[in-house]
């Protein structure tokens, strides 16, 4: 054991461990300083935790789309952020129309249901077209080719939506039934919208998990992700399963789009870019290809981004810590990739799959 350890130990490893240790110590020190200074009240701590969880749930839903497609095709679908945008942006027109007619305020459940439905269907349509037109012809091409195509498709979709709906910010109506807060304890106050986002996202993730584990399609998806060729030999229609995977990811992205829009209320053709990058980060963080990993990664990332700057950066005396939110997110990614290259829940991939 010891001999093996000595053989494997290299100077870069030592450096990396030192780097990690310094980072962990400064995080602990910073958090200690902030907490002991009493700068934030308990109520404020819960506020940032809840807003982090909310943002994280949206990341997680989008991240699932990246992870599902990666699991099956070993490609990163960079146009997924545009699938998310397409759903949210189209949903706006339904929400706006229903709001003008008064239906959304008088029947919020049915009204929001319609918005979700349209957004999800739009996202699915975009994803299916994307798969059919941009990715399927490249199924046997080298892996770099579909990756570059995905980036091109992403730009194409952005400017198609700009052409369709214009470049102005559109704002979702405020649903009266969702305004206001729910008091869960003396220090825990949650906005109704945030509660909706967290609950809806959790439900969707649960449904997805059960779907993949228990249904025939889910089983076929897992088989295709293990080995496409053998799956085809077992009588699985690989192309059909791939399309269904895209549809599944798109449905989650469409739902995430509406949840995002209810939360932040601004939609525009460029809105998918940053959430897309963050969700991709979350998927890698959790272990790309791994479904629970994407969920965990998303929530982890949202929480870290929200709590991190106040907790340990301000304790270290760094000015305007919230600007460094992305630094926290990506440092976390780098650290996970150094010490656990497959991600938090990622399994060791066989060389054929990786």
């Amino acid at each position: 054991m010891l001999r093996r350890l000595r053989q494997r130990l290299e100077i870069t490893d030592v450096f990396m461990w030192l780097f990690g240790a310094v980072l962990v110590i400064s995080i602990i020190y910073g958090s200690f300083v902030t907490i002991s200074s009493g700068r934030f009240t308990t109520r404020q701590w819960f506020d940032v935790i809840i807003s982090g969880l909310t943002q994280g749930s949206v990341y997680a839903l989008i991240a699932l789309g990246y992870t599902l497609v990666y699991g099956i095709l070993r490609m990163i679908n960079f146009a997924h952020s545009e699938v998310f945008m397409g759903g949210a942006f189209t949903g706006y027109f339904v929400a706006d129309a229903l709001n003008r007619s008064g239906f959304l305020q008088s029947n919020p459940v049915l009204g929001l249901g319609a918005v979700f439905l349209v957004a999800i269907l739009t996202s699915i349509l975009v994803a299916v077209l994307l798969e059919r037109i941009a990715y399927r012809p490249l199924r046997r091409a080298p892996r770099l080719v579909p990756l570059i195509t995905a980036i091109g498709a992403s730009f194409f979709l952005q400017y198609v939506f700009r052409g369709l709906y214009g470049s102005q910010f559109k704002s979702y109506p405020e649903v009266n039934a969702l305004s206001g807060t729910i008091i869960l304890g003396t220090n825990i106050v949650i906005q109704k919208t945030q509660l909706l986002v967290i609950v809806a996202a959790s439900l969707l993730m649960l449904v997805l998990y059960l779907f993949v584990q228990n249904t025939k399609t889910g089983k076929a998806m897992r088989a295709v992700s293990e080995d496409k060729d053998v799956a085809a030999l077992m009588g699985i229609d690989v192309d059909a399963i791939i399309v269904r995977t895209f549809m599944l990811g798109a449905a989650l992205a469409g739902a995430a789009g509406v949840l995002y829009a209810l939360l932040f209320r601004n939609v525009q053709f460029f809105m998918g870019f940053i959430p897309g990058i963050k969700a991709f980060t979350a998927a890698v963080l959790g272990g790309i290809g791994n479904i629970p990993g994407a969920m965990l990664g998303g929530i982890f990332l949202g929480l870290f981004e929200s709590v991190g700057p106040g907790l340990f950066l301000s304790g270290l005396g760094i000015p305007s810590p919230n600007q460094l939110k992305d630094v926290i997110a990506f440092t976390m990614l780098v650290m996970v990739l150094i010490f656990r290259p497959t991600g938090i829940l990622g399994e060791r991939l066989a060389s054929k799959k990786a």
Partner: protein, 411 residues
């Protein structure tokens, strides 16, 4: 050398020679910067350098379209020539400004340039355009360095109708301290040169007047969840938060501020980056009563501009500098008309130095964004043309356009 390569090279040489001879060219006559000669039937070429794609795309697109409203009024013709209106995307970065500036500057038919969108682009594009002898006017660069004669980023032939941050930051601070009586304030910027220098000027003047700045925070472009930064600011309990940033980050801050414990009654204040038709609805109920600084505009003129814009493009301006762009184009057109020499056969001569001089001499120009007088440094908008506006419940409901609100306070 093989035969095919040789013939290709020969072809290239001949065609480049032909290109150099043909077309409207720059003669050597006239002033030291040369002159543009436009033969009968050739167009007068005005180019733009704007960010029309990416996250800042809507801002540059609105600039291009604002200028098009002005061009459309004259049917894209001037002095009997068509106006050629095209340009380069500059991507809101120094590299993009350099690339776009190089391309535009290398085209001798360009008479004047409408650019840039971002101050960072102007830093690299402006010296190239100045070198080529062209005049460039920006509707949305606000960084003070660009027209500070002491600073290396200031170049001859550079103008702007956007407000220099020095004016706007000062007006905002004076309003907050003297008029609203706020004694503590916090600022938020987004790391852009625009917001960073605006909030710095605000903080400096506010402290000079006797106020206290509790925190100067920052967010990233692309952030959506502002809970962290707002909670952080709440610990200093400022009476006012000044966030001179753009959509959508500004929308998120305004929307989330009144839900943050400790900031329920804090006064919100922004700048002209948020003075758009879409902001109040996007920020929601929280933005009612919020203050915004921006150009003092004649309401009837503004309405006319908005109607024309809507007719042409099927949507309202996506960002706040459309009127500035309209005015900038008007200044270019007026200057060309003033200095152009038209021959009997319709050939137009435009002396580059004279064009610049005519633009520097712009004085008392009644524009959409107030009365414009260009100074020797190229600043055409002055502090007197600024006003403070307040967001009303009607703006949020969408029944009244924020851009047509009457000024709440003028300095």
């Amino acid at each position: 050398m093989n035969k095919r390569l040789f013939s290709l090279l020969a072809l290239l040489t001949v065609s480049s020679l032909l290109a150099a001879c043909g077309g409207a060219g720059t003669g050597d006559g006239g002033g030291e910067l040369g002159e543009v000669v436009i033969a009968p039937g050739d167009p007068i070429h005005i180019a733009w350098i704007q960010t029309v794609t990416g996250a800042t795309g809507p801002l540059g697109l609105t600039n291009v379209r604002g200028a098009e409203v002005a061009l459309n009024e004259i049917g894209f013709t001037l002095l009997g020539h068509d106006i050629q209106w095209d340009g380069e995307d500059s991507l809101c970065s120094a590299e993009g400004g350099q690339a776009a500036g190089t391309r535009v500057a290398s085209d001798p038919t360009v008479v004047a340039v409408m650019g840039t969108t971002c101050s960072s682009e102007a830093r690299t594009a402006s010296p190239l355009i100045a070198e080529a002898g062209m005049a460039m006017i920006s509707p949305s660069n606000t960084n003070p360095d660009l027209t500070n004669p002491e600073h290396p980023d200031a170049h001859p032939g550079y103008f702007r109708t956007a407000h220099n941050d020095l004016f706007q930051g000062r007006v905002a601070a004076e309003f907050a301290y003297n008029e609203l009586g706020a004694t503590t304030a916090a600022t938020i910027h987004d790391g852009s040169p625009y917001a960073e220098s605006l909030q710095a000027v605000f903080a400096e003047v506010f402290a000079e007047l006797g106020g206290t700045i509790t925190a100067q925070a920052a967010v990233n472009v692309g952030d959506t969840d502002m809970g962290g930064v707002l909670t952080d600011l709440a610990t200093g309990s400022p009476e006012l938060i000044y966030f001179p940033i753009f959509e959508p980050e500004g929308n998120f801050i305004a929307d989330q501020a009144c839900d943050t414990s400790g900031l329920e009654d804090t006064i919100l204040m922004g700048a002209d980056g948020l003075l758009t038709s879409t902001f109040p609805a996007a920020a929601g109920e929280c933005s009612v009563g919020m203050f915004l600084s921006g150009p003092y505009v004649d309401q009837a003129l503004q309405q006319g501009f908005l109607d024309a814009y809507n007719d042409l493009f099927g949507e309202g301006p996506a960002a706040g500098f459309g009127p500035h762009s309209y005015d900038a184009m008007k200044i270019i057109l007026a200057a060309i008309e003033a200095v152009a020499v038209v021959d009997d056969d319709g050939t137009v001569h435009i002396d580059r130095q004279a064009l610049r001089d005519a633009m520097y001499a712009t004085s008392g120009f009644a524009g959409l964004t107030g009365t414009l007088t260009c100074d020797a440094n190229g600043d055409c908008a002055t502090g007197e043309a600024l006003a403070i506006f307040q967001v009303s419940a009607e703006n949020v409901a969408g029944t009244v356009d924020l851009l047509t609100n009457a000024a709440y306070w003028t300095p």
